[in-house]
């Protein structure tokens, strides 16, 4: 033992090099394990909201494009009538969806109809907001991509065997609009002008001429008979020349003023008045301006209605409460706010928020969660239903299954019970986590294992080679030990003990190296991005349909990689280092055991 100690101590450089070889290997493996664990933790952290609330299955309804895309694209045209039928059925149910299961295509059609129906409330006539110039603040609630369905579905799900709890939830996208009611009409006054127009009357007919003549004669405009007026012959021979007649009349000027008065009197009515004035009636026209120009600002956020009585399961649970309290027994004017939304908007517990002209008290802050429950504000379900004019309608059922083994069976049963429903299990949700996190996790698990083995093998090889070389240098020494009476087993024991010592030193250093690697990763390590898809309200293009300003809230998030080293890992690493030392020692001992005592007489060098 003393020999071992002295060997190790006085040949410290060799000891250190060999131990460092082992330490480097073990340390790196520890680092890999730490990173891998860290990634696992990160992934668990991402998914933990779902698992922590104990939700095994989420039942919801989205536009089923993704799941039936291929059949839809090829059959839409041919089955269009069916699609209409489905649409009608959906409409008949007030957008309800459970009765509209007539094939995926019709399902899609009805889905889209229902979605449009659900989101229609936002198409608001601004004129209804008040007199122009008044300030308005409104909150509109739209369903985004998650179509609502009757709350009765909860009871249907709850009846399914194996379901422990089924909790309703209504996740909505909210648009908060504020601004001044715009001047949306203007007035135009028209009419009142006088219009003058020249009219050319038609020539006198023969009958009218005769009548005029007779009239004139009767009125005694002529002083004598026709014998004294030769021109009258002309007049009779030219009946069509009215001018002539008038000329004759003019010629009859010698008839004096009495003639003029008689002539005027004898003309037909249409000649007596041949000029008219038209006065257009004055009127005022009020016209709608389109589009109105306003200073309206729109902010979008997400809201959810949860069952206040269910504090242990559902979208949000009491366990996720960070500060404040859960809904009280009178939850109608109470809200819970996610910590993220609270911090960006400086909302504190006890504060009052005005939403859609109603004051709500923030009773608590809850930890933001990711899958299916990203809402910023949580209402009492009934309150939100009434605000969003979605009475007795929900768009999510969160199901907790009694036994985890039953999850798939129950999911299948729900699908059967509620045709057209999207049934997501937590495992599927986990699969929807994508991005660098899942890539890194995969990398760490696939490459990490291989890398770990390679590094360990390299470390062992290095240690073994160093040991072999050390034995080669100690041939004479080992021969001497044999020559002075040491047995083979004692020599082997000596070398193994030395390597055990090196292994222990390597273990200690390796653990330090490993912890150092992990610390370095924690300090300088990457931030991992991840995103979830498909289950988050407002995440799809449907929100663009709703309002251009209501940009879909990004669901891509990041999580800091934090390595995790357990005591077990440390112990495992230490054991590996020590075993590595012993394996290397075996290589050296095997060599040493074969040395003859005669080696003691070998020449130096």
């Amino acid at each position: 033992m003393r020999y071992v100690r002295h060997e190790l101590w006085r040949r410290w450089s060799r000891t250190l090099v060999t131990a460092l070889g082992l330490a480097a290997g073990v340390g790196l493996v520890m680092g890999i394990v730490g990173v891998s664990n860290g990634l696992s933790n990160a992934q668990n952290k991402v998914l933990s909201p779902l698992s922590s609330v104990g939700t095994d299955i989420v039942v919801e309804r989205t536009v089923g494009v993704a799941s039936t895309s291929s059949s839809t694209s090829t059959t839409t045209t041919t089955t269009a009538p069916g699609g209409f039928g489905g649409g009608r059925a959906g409409g008949g149910g007030g957008g309800g969806f459970f009765g509209a299961a007539s094939g995926s295509t019709s399902q899609n059609a009805s889905d889209e109809a229902a979605l449009a129906n659900n989101n229609s409330s936002v198409l608001t006539d601004l004129s209804k907001l008040g007199a122009p110039g008044t300030q308005f603040t409104y909150d509109f609630f739209v369903t985004g991509t998650l179509i609502t369905f009757p709350q009765a579905a909860v009871a249907d799900v709850a009846k399914i065997k194996g379901v422990q709890t089924a909790v309703p939830a209504l996740s909505l996208q909210a648009l908060h609009e504020s601004g001044t009611v715009p001047t949306i009409t203007d007035t135009v006054t028209t009419g009142g002008q006088t219009i003058t127009k020249a009219v050319a009357p038609p020539p006198l007919t023969a009958a009218q001429e005769d009548a005029v003549r007779a009239c004139l004669q009767a009125s005694g405009a002529f002083g004598t008979t026709t014998t004294t007026a030769p021109g009258s012959t002309t007049a009779t021979t030219a009946p069509a020349g009215a001018g002539g007649t008038r000329g004759s009349g003019g010629g009859g000027g010698f008839g004096g003023a009495a003639f003029g008065a008689a002539f005027t009197k004898c003309l037909p009515a249409s000649y007596q008045q041949y000029e008219a004035q038209v006065v257009v009636p004055e009127q005022t026209i009020t016209r709608v301006l389109n589009p109105p120009t306003t200073n309206t600002e729109t902010k979008s956020y997400t809201v959810a209605g949860v069952d206040p009585k269910n504090s242990s399961s559902g979208l949000i649970t009491k366990a996720q409460l960070v500060s404040g309290t859960w809904f009280t027994s009178a939850p109608a004017d109470e809200i819970l706010v996610s910590t993220a939304y609270a911090s960006t908007n400086s909302i504190k517990v006890g504060q009052t928020l005005t939403i859609d002209k109603t004051n709500y008290k923030v009773v608590g802050l809850v930890n933001p969660t990711l899958t299916g429950d990203v809402s910023d504000i949580y209402f009492d379900l009934a309150t939100l239903q009434s605000n969003a004019t979605q009475a007795n309608r929900i768009n999510e059922v969160l199901v907790k299954v009694g036994k985890s083994a039953d999850v798939n069976t129950v999911a299948a049963a729900i699908k059967k019970e509620l045709p057209g429903a999207t049934v997501l299990t937590s495992k599927q949700l986990a699969g929807q986590v994508t991005g660098s996190l899942s890539n890194a996790k995969k990398l760490a698990s696939d490459l990490g294992v291989a890398l770990g083995f390679i590094i360990l093998a390299a470390a062992l090889l290095i240690a073994a080679l160093l040991t072999m070389s050390s034995i080669a240098k100690r041939v004479r020494e080992i021969g001497t030990l044999r020559a002075i009476g040491w047995s083979r087993s004692r020599v082997v024991g000596q070398i193994m003990t030395e390597m055990l010592g090196i292994g222990i030193i390597g273990a200690a250093l390796g653990v330090l190296v490993g912890l150092g690697v992990c610390l370095a990763v924690n300090t300088f390590g990457p931030t991992l991005a991840y995103s979830t898809t498909g289950v988050v309200v407002g995440a799809s293009s449907a929100s663009g349909l709703v309002h251009a300003a209501a940009a879909a809230s990004s669901v891509g998030k990041t999580v800091k990689l934090h390595t995790s080293i357990s005591a077990l890992t440390v112990i495992g690493a230490a054991v590996i280092a020590i075993l590595g030392g012993l394996v290397a020692g075996l290589a050296g001992a095997w060599r040493a055991a074969r040395l003859s005592p005669v080696s003691a007489l070998r020449d130096l060098g």
């Binding site: 004479r476 020559a483 009476g485």
Partner: protein, 290 residues
């Protein structure tokens, strides 16, 4: 003492009895006989010198006598134990208990102090470390290194190192000390010290000393000189030489001290050894040259 030793020698079988010993090595494709056809009896208690030029096989013979190696053919009887066919365990046991080997290059463990090096030889035997250290110290004091107990070999002179090596060889109270060129790496003064130490061991403690050497000084001290050439014994003579036994050691009896007067007068006490040698080892005498 000499008489006693001689008497013992007469009544008991020789320490070594070699018959037809061959030791061949493979050198490339051809087989080389380092030792061939050696018949030899070596009595207990003598100071035997094995001479011969390089390559004569004296080192190989010494390795066989030191139980470091086994012969290719023939038998080596060490009293009642046949070494030629013995297994590693037996040889290890014999090396440990009956033989002390001294090397030309001292072969001390460089990482261990003088005491630790000596105690190392006692490690295979039961006994506490304290006991081992205690005996190691006694032995080192006996070889005149009481002031160097905790020095590492690198801090000792060649002569001191070789004395540590001799103390190590004595650790388990061996019957025989087998030394391969023990003075080969030493200056003459250190060599003289080491030689007188070996002589004292032989004379005072009755330890058989077998030395392979070039050194004529050593040869002169020997009670018996065996000359090898090409692996065979060419000459085997018991010394009548008046100088062969260093008497001066007697003066310092009880404490082997550094003593540079090894050329002092001698005794002719080995007559019986000679007799014994010639009686028991006729074949050695008759060994043909070559």
């Amino acid at each position: 003492m000499d008489d006693d030793a001689a008497a013992v020698a007469l009544d008991t079988p020789p320490l070594y009895r070699l018959r037809g010993v061959e030791r061949h090595y493979m050198k490339g494709a051809s087989e080389v006989a380092a030792v061939s056809g050696v018949d030899l009896d070596i009595a207990s208690g003598g100071f035997v010198c094995i001479e011969g030029p390089s390559g004569s096989g004296k080192s190989t013979l010494l390795q066989l006598l030191g139980a470091l190696d086994t012969p290719t053919a023939g038998t080596i009887q060490m009293e009642d134990q046949e070494l030629g066919s013995a297994g590693d365990h037996v040889l290890t046991e014999i090396r440990s208990k009956r033989i002390g080997f001294v090397f030309q290059h001292f072969n001390l463990i460089p990482t261990l102090s003088a005491v630790e090096n000596v105690a190392l030889a006692m490690a295979p035997h039961h006994g506490s470390r304290a006991e081992g250290d205690e005996r190691a110290k006694e032995l080192l004091i006996r070889v005149g290194l009481g002031h160097r107990l905790d020095h590492l070999p690198s801090r000792l002179s060649g002569g001191e190192q070789q004395r540590v090596a001799i103390a190590r060889a004595l650790a388990n109270r061996p019957d025989v000390i087998v030394a391969d060129e023990p003075t080969g790496n030493l200056d003459s003064e250190s060599a003289a010290e080491v030689l007188s130490l070996l002589v004292e061991l032989q004379q005072r403690d009755g330890v058989t000393v077998i030395v392979a050497t070039h050194d004529p000084e050593v040869a002169q001290l020997a009670s018996r000189r065996i000359s090898l050439r090409d692996g065979a014994v060419v000459e085997d003579s018991s010394h009548q030489s008046p100088q062969h036994a260093p008497r001066h050691v007697k003066a310092g009896e009880g404490a082997l001290v550094e003593d540079d007067s090894h050329q002092s007068p001698q005794r002719a006490s080995s007559a019986k050894h000679v007799e014994e040698a010639s009686d028991r080892n006729p074949s050695a005498d008759g060994q043909p040259t070559g």
